[in-house]
């Protein structure tokens, strides 16, 4: 198989005495969607922060296209084309679509100190980029972001990352706060990004969303990789069970069991 674009090998991360990630080995290939599943506190956020250069691993290796890399800050990861899109992140409600799209990378015309922001170019490129991702409702780059729906804002942020040369797209719970239709829209955009050959790391709680777009799945439990499988290798129920914390559930059942035996068959009073 080809070299993965981004790869973690035996990565550990601890904050002081607290171990957050244990021995994670994970890879993602171009044109593939890796779904990271796990309950709150499982270490998903820390893991994507290691990918994005926010945290340095305490031990272990990060490889980009097979070469070991050390990111000192998010900027260095971004320069390699690793882009993170947070829920509602990257867009500014009271800015126009064109301006928001080009924040930090404004197109200019003129020269020297008289460089001015090129609104016309910015608007037309921004509108074209988001329309290519299927948001056909947008046709005026002067509209404010705040007037868009949550899904559209998410899509705009993804379109922006792709436009600026992202090769690995990290999506942090992009569908969490969205309605059904909106979420479907975002999923379609994830598939479009995959079709264009990007590697997508998709973080979600929602097994259905993950199964719709994912090629490769990893389940995190308490900072360790509990499962790593390809599309079609596990059923939805199996994944849900895994996510609901496998051992945590078993422990709870065992507790209830022992309580019942100790109290002559009565279940615990809530």
């Amino acid at each position: 198989m080809a070299t993965p674009i981004l790869e973690l090998e035996n990565v550990n991360k601890s904050f002081g005495p607290i171990d957050v990630l244990h021995d994670i080995t994970l890879n993602v290939h171009p044109g593939e969607v890796l779904c990271l599943l796990g309950d709150n506190g499982a270490g998903k956020s820390t893991l994507i922060k290691v990918f994005a250069g926010v945290h340095k691993p305490t031990s272990g290796t990060v490889r980009f296209e097979g070469e070991p890399v050390v990111f000192n800050n998010p900027r260095e990861a971004a320069d390699l084309g690793i882009a993170t899109v947070h829920q509602f992140g990257g867009t500014f409600p009271l800015m126009s679509i064109g301006r928001s799209f080009f924040v930090g990378r404004e197109p200019t015309k003129g020269f020297g100190p008289f460089k001015i922001y090129d609104r016309k170019t910015a608007n037309s490129i921004a509108v074209k980029a988001v329309r290519e991702f299927g948001i056909t409702r947008i046709d005026d780059g002067d509209r404010l972001i705040g007037g868009l729906s949550g899904g559209e804002r998410q899509s705009l942020a993804i379109a922006r990352a792709v436009h600026f040369g992202a090769r690995v797209l990290i999506l942090d719970e992009p569908t969490a706060a969205l309605g059904v239709k909106e979420a479907a829209h975002v999923l379609r955009i994830v598939l479009e990004a995959r079709r264009r050959g990007l590697a997508v790391i998709f973080i979600t709680h929602n097994v259905i969303h993950a199964m719709t777009v994912g090629d490769h799945f990893a389940v995190l439990i308490k900072g360790a990789k509990a499962a790593d499988f390809r599309k079609g290798e596990k059923s939805r129920e199996e994944i849900t069970d895994l996510m609901a914390g496998g051992e945590a559930m078993a422990e709870l059942e065992a507790e209830i069991e022992s309580y019942s035996t100790a109290h002559s068959g009565h279940p615990p009073q809530v």
């Binding site: 998010p74 900027r75 971004a78 993170t84 947070h86 992140g89 990257g90 867009t91 500014f92 409600p93 009271l94 800015m95 301006r99 928001s100 080009f102 924040v103 930090g104 990378r105 404004e106 200019t108 460089k115 001015i116 922001y117 016309k120 046709d139 005026d140 002067d142 509209r143 404010l144 705040g146 007037g147």
Partner: protein, 332 residues
Amino acid sequence: MNNLSFGNLLRRPEAGAFLGLAGVLVFFVAFGSTKFLETAGAASWLNVAANLGIVALPIGLLMIAGELDISIGAMIPAGSMTVAVLSGHYDLPIWIGILGALSVGLCIGLINGILVVRTAVPSLIVTLGTLFAVQGLMLGASVLVTGTTSVALTAAPWAKFFFGQFLGGSFQVIILWWIAITALFIFFIHYSPYGNWIFAMGGDKVSARNAGIPTNRLTIILFVLSATSASFVGMCQAILFNSAQVSGGMTFIFNSIISVVVGGVLLTGGFGSIIGIFFGTITFAVVNQGIYFTTFDRNWSSLIIGVMLLLAVLMNNTFRQMALSYAPKKKK
């Protein structure tokens, strides 16, 4: 692209300021006379507007970027006292005094900016601290050095010419500075790419930083800008009136915030315009001075300003909603 329809005008941040200005002009013409639009009258409110406006512009930028600076209340007397003590009390050349006043602004601005960036304490609190600290420092130092709280200053003719003359008998030269500075700000905020960064910072600081905007450096620059502008205004006043007092300047805090808010800047940041702040300042100055041209008692002007502020905020909220919900009509 720039179709100047009424609807488009209303969706711009300065819409409220335009309507507010029109409203107060009608009010004062109706209840007073058109005298305040003639030379002598216009000078009275233009002078107020210019002094206030030079401070209000950087305050407005800070508010757009999601910060606030109230230490300007102490920076204005600090600027005028510095130039008066250096060039009046010690008889140093006036350019040293001018440089001194501006460097005091630069230093306090740096302190404000660095404290806000490094400590994550809200800028209101940080600048409240520097407001009192600078005020106390100026009072203590001037009594220690000069023995009084008011220092006379005789500026060289060239300094008088640039910073403290009356044009046409009653227009302070600072009006020209104000217009020039406004033009400069319009270029930087609405035409250069940097303006975009300030709006982005006010909209969502974390996202702005992720997009590669040097938010910390920009915040510090904005604080330096506001403190230096305030000390510039103080310096011009000292050169104009040939003396400086430790007190005064406190009214600028509220007045500049009112001008900025009436000008359509959103208190929580991310929205506003320079031209709006410009007209907001004029509106404030007209209300402040226009009362003298009516038969009303002077004391009523605060009531008008208060009501105007509330109306402006409500109006600006409405316009912002319109801007947010705006979708272009389907092309036929």
